[in-house]
Amino acid sequence: MVATILTGCALTPTDNGFKKANHAGDLQIVACLDQAPGNLTVTSEGRIIASLHQHFSPELRVVEIVGDGELKLFPNPAWSALDADSR
């Protein structure tokens, strides 16, 4: 297996934004996050939706990962942000 080892989480940009890894066994880094994700699902359009792992006591619950690691509240701030009762 050929892994793309990161140095300081530097992505290798190409025309499509990331280093290509089209061969079996290549591991491609899609995004680098400041907070620990929990579970994820990827839509048929390639949108990445993830929970933030509860072990790290995140302030957000579900996010969409945009670009190389930006966290966008999903589906909206009211739903994704923990309210006072759930803290």
């Binding site: 080892i5 591991l27 899609v30 620990a36 994700p37 929990g38 579970n39 579900v62 759930s86």
Partner: protein, 137 residues
């Protein structure tokens, strides 16, 4: 065959299929979080989302987890395209999986009322996908 290491594959924890036969994986250093590391948070960003191709699903020891994620994607992914209600399904599935794992470990620390009270989980079969192995042929 690469499985786990301290440089890149620091606890591969969850999987999902995406378009074009990509299999996405979360790498979240879960073994270094306070709950699993004697209270000390030793995890350090960046946490990663990675993807790969060429997984031999039939032979994989992670067959159940991979199939599970496929099921989530096929249901929630399609639904997401159709309506807001379906988007809620996506959230419920992902959140339920996290709640399940957390409840089994430290329900008193849970940040959700349902898990704190030991309430019924919507998807009790959604166990933590502790994928320390990435099986790539």
């Amino acid at each position: 065959m690469q499985t786990q290491d301290d440089a890149l594959l620091k606890w591969a924890d969850a999987f999902s299929f995406g378009p074009d036969d990509w299999c996405y994986v979360v790498i979240n250093q879960l073994h270094l979080d306070p709950v699993l590391n004697a209270g000390a948070d030793m995890a350090q960003p960046p946490f990663l989302i990675a993807r790969f191709k060429g997984c031999n699903f039939k032979r994989s020891t992670l067959k159940n987890e991979l199939l599970f994620n496929l099921d989530v994607r096929s249901r929630s992914g399609n639904a997401l395209d159709r309506s807001t209600h379906a988007a809620q399904t996506v959230q419920n599935l992902t959140i339920s999986a996290t709640i399940t794992a957390h409840t089994k470990l430290r329900p008193d620390l849970s940040r959700t009322p349902a898990a704190r009270s030991g309430g019924e989980l919507e998807h009790p079969r959604l166990m933590w996908s502790t994928g320390a192995l990435i099986s790539v042929s």
